[in-house]
Amino acid sequence: MAELKVGTLIIGAGQAGARAAFALREKGYSDSVCIIGEEALPPYERPPLSKAVLRDEKGLSDILVRDLPAYDSHNIQLMLGSRVEKILPEAQKVQLGDGLMIGYDKLILATGGRPRQLPDKVMPGVHYLRSHGDAIQLSAELKQYKKLAVIGGGFIGLEVAASARQMGLEVCVIEAAPRVLQRSLPEKIAADVVALHEAKGVTFHCSARIHGFVGDDRLSGIQLEDQLIDADVAVVGIGLIPNTELAEVAGLAVDNGICTDAQGRTGNPNIYAVGDCANSYHSYYQRSIRMESWQNANLQGEAVAAAICGESTDNSAVPWLWSDQYDWSFQVAGMFDSQAQLISRGSAEEGKLIYFIHSDGVLTGVVGWGKGTSIAKDVRVGQMLLQQGKNPPFEMLADENVSLKKLLKL
């Protein structure tokens, strides 16, 4: 049986895997590095899939994590279109679908996740959105059909809803919870988001229970408990299931993701896990968290590279994510509970609204919502306030005449 040996083997050609590979080189790692990916495409960024790619404004080459020559110049091998069948941790080898065995000194699991699925059998017209291929197929249908139902009112669903409205479709959002973004944001802010979408013509059905897809050869509607939604395309965005099967079979601890310490180490000293598939100890929150974000993929990629290179880092960055909907952008720093208190600065009417979020009198998060990138600076300063453990007086946070940057020096 054919056999190869590499220094660091990365399973998963997404953001986290690619970032880990390049971070290794940036830190002077000189052994061989190989990324194995099931898709035939080089690593690409996923945030544009529900936005610019769907609207045909960006092609694959525009969203690559790094262009192909960079892999050559950094001596990073890409094995694309290859599936790993199993990990043999005792032998420090993995077996591919074609039987090839690859030995490793260090193994990084960057296996990502797959969309959580509805129990109904999928029919033509019903889509899930995770890969570039998914986005291309959905984009083609959004150009051909007229009525889109988005199932799931999370960030991805709302981004798809915005893109589809921009493409001229009728759009409704169907959400099982009483409101959208229930797990992510306080109610007031979610209401602002809904108001923007409604002003653009999106309709919402919350607390909605789906009884099934309707249609013969392809989707014609979605049956709710109390009504039939007319739809010729549907996108289901109801969450992500981490891909942990390889880790489980290899005997690694799994609990809503592959369990790791703050540097991405699993219980096996030679195996690490990063990105959407990893449930990692977070030094800032002092508990394990599985995060599905672009920032987290990058930071964890860098953290495992540091660990492999013998450097000491900790995973203490305050979580940060963004979402672009219409010509508005939305940035969130920190984590918070739904009962948190909100202190606002600016207004949506002025195109720039910042919410500082307090839980039990402590600053726990910052959310900005505004046109273009107008809120980026304030959210970033808010993220730094959180990172530094600052807790400025409410009245200063609310006063637009007080420079946020100066609050960093209090």
Partner: protein
């Protein structure tokens, strides 16, 4: 041929901040830092995003889109996702006016 172009008054840029300057068909970012005024190309090298809403911290500009960081004085890319440096331009201050040198 090089060309000094009036970009702005010194007072137009807050301390430790930047503004956008458009000239002919190009756009620039002009910075006011503790170490003086600087100028770079306006767009982040990662995506087509102007840096004007970015955060200046000392000699570093962070892109407002993905928090990629550049050293202002040299244009050097400091952190992912940016990996390509920013082009920089010479700056001179005469009186209360900032000029940048454009090739």
């Amino acid at each position: 041929m090089t060309n000094w172009v009036l970009a702005c008054d010194t007072a137009e840029i807050d301390e430790e901040d930047l503004i956008r300057f458009d000239h002919e068909d190009k756009t620039y970012a002009i910075y006011n830092t503790d170490n003086g005024f600087f100028a770079t190309a306006g767009y982040c090298t990662h995506e087509v995003q102007h840096l004007e809403d970015g955060l200046v911290i000392g000699n570093v500009i962070e892109c407002p889109l993905h928090q990629g960081r550049f050293e202002i004085s040299s244009g050097k890319a400091l952190s992912a996702p940016v990996c390509e440096d920013l082009v920089t331009f010479p700056v001179k201050v005469e009186g209360d006016q900032v000029y940048i040198q454009i090739v």
